[in-house]
Assembly symmetry: C2
Homo-oligomer: 204 residues x 2
Amino acid sequence: MLEELESEGQRTISSQGLAHQSGVTSAQVRKDLSYFGNFGKRGLGYGVSRLRKEIRLILGLNRRWRVALVGAGNIGSALYSYKEFRRQGFDIVGIFDVSADRVGQRWRELTIRHIDDLKDEAARLKMEIGVIAVPARAAQAVADRLVAAGMRGILNFAHRRIQVPPTVALRTVNISIELESLAFSIKGLHTKLPSEVSPRRSAS
Amino acid sequence: MLEELESEGQRTISSQGLAHQSGVTSAQVRKDLSYFGNFGKRGLGYGVSRLRKEIRLILGLNRRWRVALVGAGNIGSALYSYKEFRRQGFDIVGIFDVSADRVGQRWRELTIRHIDDLKDEAARLKMEIGVIAVPARAAQAVADRLVAAGMRGILNFAHRRIQVPPTVALRTVNISIELESLAFSIKGLHTKLPSEVSPRRSAS
């Protein structure tokens, strides 16, 4: 939101303005931001450009991250084309797969490599984040290899819960589960179910 | 997981087996399933094929859903090619945009239409679910139009929190926020932060 405001030339915004646009209360905005520092001026609000920079710093987005993409199928291909990765500072510098059809293929400036090369390539190219875009049944084995290759964080797009050591950060994106939850919620909103099962609307 | 087991020819699975593969306890598996009915036989476990069908029924996936995709950009295009939608029973039957460059373009069997046609097309083609794949600043206006067009559920891929009436189901997929959370978690795992800020690992 701050990026949008900055691109529109807006210099400052009040906590009420931030609250209104982000769907939380202004008290919450002030409380959350005050946790990290003193960013606003009473009566003047927050400087849009400064606050954007401070938040990127807090989030660890004031640098670029080198990413290994494992899985050169449907999802892997969509992710590789997804501009948001690069815009947020995440550079896919290696692509890995096991399929003989895919290994050796060229995707723009990268050649798809065999997963057996992951460890050496990760060290050589200083990769820190692994993206898992493989079938569910292979997800845990790939996660184990990424951990062994020294990744500090994993973003999992496979349709399977995976386990990693507590020293490795993990986030999951599961579009199938969102679709299933959506169908279940719609069904719940329009049929009688015990109150415990009635779906809650997503908080975000 | 049940789909995988079925395709591998496995007939039955115990609650321990389900628990082991899904990363929860077997007591939780039994408790969750017993909420919806009596699917297992003591000592025999669950029939894989039957349980898969029952769960799809519970989730509302025993039918097909007709979907309106709004936003024919980068994300919209990736979603339209994403086979998981169709496999889960979600058929994109209309694509909408505002850009003069995109409206009128043909994507496989569909012609991209102007968002002003949404209401008429939604009624004509009996669309029930809207997928939002537009820039953040347009997300709420698109959500309002989808609600006005009678959608029962919305899947939001825009990078903005949206508000819908309680009669409409809402789910959000925000890859940017996952990337930001991942960066923040990695940073938190490797720097000293107040304990309240130290990242928790994602639950799923």
